[in-house]
Amino acid sequence: MKALALVLLVLAAGGPASLPDVEDEVMCVECGTALNVSTSTVADQERAFIRRQIAQGKDKQEIKDALVDQFGPGVLAMPEEKGFSLAAYLVPIGLALLALAGLAVAARRWRRRPAEAEPAAEPLAPIENARLDAELAAYDRR
């Protein structure tokens, strides 16, 4: 029980970081790609820096803070929530809202269409009317 509590405590505290865990959340500052796919010299330097931080026992957030301290906020893969970077959050939300609005409009039209599109039934000719009545009466007698 104590061991489980300890594991939960470590997980709650963020736990020990690993290179792959941090690498996919930061950028190669020179190449502009995610660090985990970059092979440039500066990316190697960033990885070496992360390894040193891990060796010092820092958790993921502390390592990311240290990276920002060295390279500025641009090192983080998730853009900042200010300035032009805000567009990275607002545009998908805007597009999603637009898509929802489009769906709502389309659904309303779709529901209305049968009533509008159904042609008015032409009245039957007297002879056809009589024939229909006869056939229905024959059907009821069975």
Binding site: D44, D69, Q70, G72, A87, L95, L98, A101, V105
Partner: protein, 181 residues
């Protein structure tokens, strides 16, 4: 209803295209300094107050107004940058008695690694820490190393996007050192 909906779609598409165009344009390197220098003009050198690498406190290019400044952008992981550090130190020692100096600007780098090269080559000139590269962006920086020579009035008189050599430094500095503020 259909008329209003199509205008909304067109407006949304136009906004999206505009946003993409702005994003692309804002990431393109500024070439205004290159254009001015190519036209034989001098442009005001951008300045920024930044931490000084390994020395504490802050510094700015503006602090050296009245001096000729060889402003060198570098990083420790960039081999051509570290290869030219001894030449820049030699240049700094040669010109420092004539109201001139070399000023480094270190960016996209880990400060400990940069300091390792400062100690290894016994660099005596200061380097500013432009950690997020915003200062470098204002010089239209796009590669390492890059060097700008700033006259005594704070204007960029020459630039080199790539490693410097003795001949370029001699040719560039000689007339500028003779100028007065």
């Amino acid at each position: 209803m259909r008329f209003r909906a199509s205008w909304a779609v067109i407006l949304a598409a136009a906004l999206l295209v505009g946003l993409l165009a702005y994003g692309v344009a804002s990431r393109r390197a500024d070439t205004s300094i290159d254009d001015a220098i190519a036209a034989g003009e001098r442009v005001d050198a951008p300045t920024a107050r930044l931490p000084v690498l390994g020395r504490g406190g802050t510094g700015s290019l503006a602090d050296y107004r009245g001096k000729v400044v060889v402003l060198n952008f570098w990083a420790s992981w960039c081999k051509p940058c570290t290869e030219e550090l001894p030449l820049l130190e030699k240049t700094h020692r040669a010109i420092s008695g004539r109201d001139a100096l070399v000023l480094g600007a270190n960016y996209q780098d880990v400060s400990d690694s940069a300091l390792g090269f400062v100690r290894r080559f016994r660099l005596t000139y200061p380097s500013l820490r432009d950690k997020d590269g915003e200062f470098a962006d204002r010089y239209g920086s796009r590669a390492f190393p890059e060097t700008f020579v700033v006259d005594r009035r704070g204007r960029i008189a020459a630039q080199r996007r790539g490693p410097v050599d003795q001949a370029w430094l001699d040719r560039t500095l000689k007339p500028l050192l003779g100028e007065t503020a």
